[in-house]
Symmetry: D2
């Protein structure tokens, strides 16, 4: 089977973990990595990650030009860089490259551009790209509809340094129609990587859907999961929540 | 709207809680209750439950005869009595009565009779009839299919006096293809009413689906849930898991 | 061994559960129960609780007089009635009766009277009299002192109908010096009986102390626990937190 | 205030994390690090950990001799190397060096040598040196004595690759007098770093003491905690459990 070729934008803390996950997965080839800076002691991502091989040629973002995607063809471009990152790969969809962007916050005008890009090739846009969180999102919405009389609360726990409310918790609150100030309970203590719990309370029973993050390599696995799904999709704007909803609907037990 | 008329078999500890839930729900009328014994100081279930009204006439099981269902018509018969209870209402389906039986353990020959009865009217047969547990059953199967590489373990906690492994935990293990002796972890301490947890472990994230029982009135709510679903169904054998799977499939978010 | 004789004030929902626990414990004799109303169909608490024996003679509160305690001697009076209840047993300590009061909220002037009563006999005054909650209180304070750099948050979960913040959670916050509006997170869903969690977050580890209430009979067990401790104590004002702190200090493992 | 000088044995995965914690703590000076191998590209631990300074001179274990501790004086030697590591620092206590060893498994004959060394200087020997786990150990023993009628179960969760039962869980079982095969429940899924829960079940309430590991740097913090405690202690054999028990006894709230 032919490997899926990946180009990666962003090589910060999360970007490195994502690169590492892709490098270790036989179904993929990490074709190249785009970094912000021109300065790098090594020319291959694999070397920077402690390996011996020469995989994932590194390019500086300002060295890109219109012919880059023709000369360095990939099937999917994965973006873990910054909200402005997409400006450097606007022309990728027209070169036949599908896009996965996991940037946490886009302004409406940025989303409009991405929508426009999605007319040429499939674009998957998901701030929290992990399988688990998106399963939580979908399962919570389903349970709320099945048990509309249940009271629902969200508890999110993160390390003390995280000031703002978890974007994932806010997204859960939004899809469940819960007012965030009343129903999102934020715990900030020590070094908790990330924990989200949705509590459904019925008079005689309680159901809890819980997601615990162990480390950010989960984003790499999410990108892989998204890439496999996206590999045969036509132009259009997609989200991980939508992918998971689609998989849920196709995997319900049959009697 | 016309009320759904319920006949109840069984008036033990759980039966009473179920009767109570039905009495408090405006969409239902508790037409009668069948008890095992002839001895009862009151003639109405409502009185035995501490109320003032006269609702739910009590009948002894050995006073029933073939014309009982014609003279005391109900839409749905709910059975919380015993594995042998169905023998006293075999002719009910032919009188147009739908059946809900929540008996925990039937032998294959009993199930064969119930299957036969299901040719005349809808029969809903579910040992654990709570909404929450059945949601856990369905959601676990879906998640296992979406994340086939996840390790799955079951933890079930109950009061010290419960000797055997939880039937619900065994059912979860069975639908997930997990060997019970290796993957069902039973905690027996104090007075825990019932707690089931399915843990899905991925390399970088953990997902937990948890159900906590508060009290057995949950079975009454489960029966009500089943009765509303069953009210317009034709002949056939159904299960709560199937109902919940059906509701899940009809409530997945659309994009 | 001589049984400890108990007199019980209050025979409401909780009072009945407490009476039941005392009746089932061989170390105690339920001598009498004081009810608010003169109307009662039975003359013995044991009968009202469904038993056959005649134990726990019932007295109406307004039939009490100064000679009551001489004529109906008990070792310990347990009060689960109301904030005003103590007014009817002010003279008990002088008759040599020790007091356990589990009333949730006293005004300062009421506490002053109880302090005064405590000069004649031991008075144990504890709004939440369960062993578990008081262990949580003591263990949390100890852990906070051992790990002063830990961030601490309190999560309390109760049934939807409980409007106010849990008094127990407020007490935990107070002894830990945590501002209640910032550090007590209240979850109100369905029928949760009561759950308190104190989360201690350190950079590389999290410690959680959790208490789950199953039913209010725990208060009866708390009263029994307190009564056994109080049985040989001299005059003075005590609390369950103090008893548990005392027991903790006498049960630390020795090396 | 004078800094506490630390010498570190072991510079593997955990050793590096421990070195890092010590380097970041102003109360300590990392005087040197002993590695197994002679081969190292850098001469200072600080450089190997990505820093610019030259702190923590690296020595090969086979270059040590009897005069090493006189020439490279430290207050405390911290050992995260291997069960055989202590053979290379046998003479350290006589040179006035206190020892902290966090090796998981010693044979009785090794312990005998350590006991012997402890006659010259304080030796702290603890397989699991984290504050949290040792608090769990002490608090569990205390609670078991206060509530001897409680049923107790241990749940330990770790990554799928961990084959054996958690040594910490076995230690908890041992101090609580619980048979390991019946009362230690091991969950092996995905990438869980480490989670230990002790469940105390009473008829009407459940108490859970939970410890969650986030990463192994917790061992570094444990070593720091132990070093501060050990700094003024005379000869003798100590354990973290003992230190924590001591701190618990000195921090119980007073009334």
């Amino acid at each position: 089977m032919k490997k899926i070729r990946i180009g990666l934008f962003g090589f910060g803390k999360t970007g490195k973990l994502v690169a590492n996950e892709i490098l270790q997965d036989d179904r993929f080839e990490l074709a190249w990595v785009v970094k912000r800076t021109r300065k790098f002691s090594e020319h291959y991502a694999s070397r920077l990650l402690g390996g011996e091989s020469k995989v994932g040629a590194i390019h500086a973002v300002d060295s890109l030009n219109a012919r880059f995607y023709a000369k360095n063809p990939v099937d999917i471009l994965v973006d873990f860089s910054s909200p402005a990152g997409y400006r450097s790969y606007r022309e990728a969809p027209e070169a036949g490259v599908r896009i996965i962007t996991a940037i946490s916050k886009y302004e409406p005008e940025d989303l409009a551009v991405l929508q426009d890009m999605a007319r040429a090739a499939a674009v998957l846009c998901s701030p929290n790209i992990t399988l688990g969180i998106n399963f939580l999102l979908v399962a919570s919405q389903v349970l709320q509809k099945i048990a509309p009389h249940a009271d629902v609360e969200i508890i999110e726990e993160h390390f003390r340094g995280k000031r703002e409310t978890s974007g994932t918790a806010l997204k859960i609150a939004q899809v469940l129609g819960l007012e965030k100030t009343r129903h999102v309970n934020s715990i900030r203590v020590g070094g908790i990587v990330g924990r989200h719990e949705v509590v459904f309370g019925l008079p005689n029973q309680t159901i809890r859907l819980v997601h615990e993050s162990i480390n950010r390599a989960a984003f790499g696995q999410g990108a892989i999961f998204g890439a496999l799904w996206l590999a045969d999709k036509g132009p259009g704007m997609y989200s991980m929540e939508q992918i998971v909803a689609d998989m849920v609907s196709r995997n319900i037990p049959i009697f």
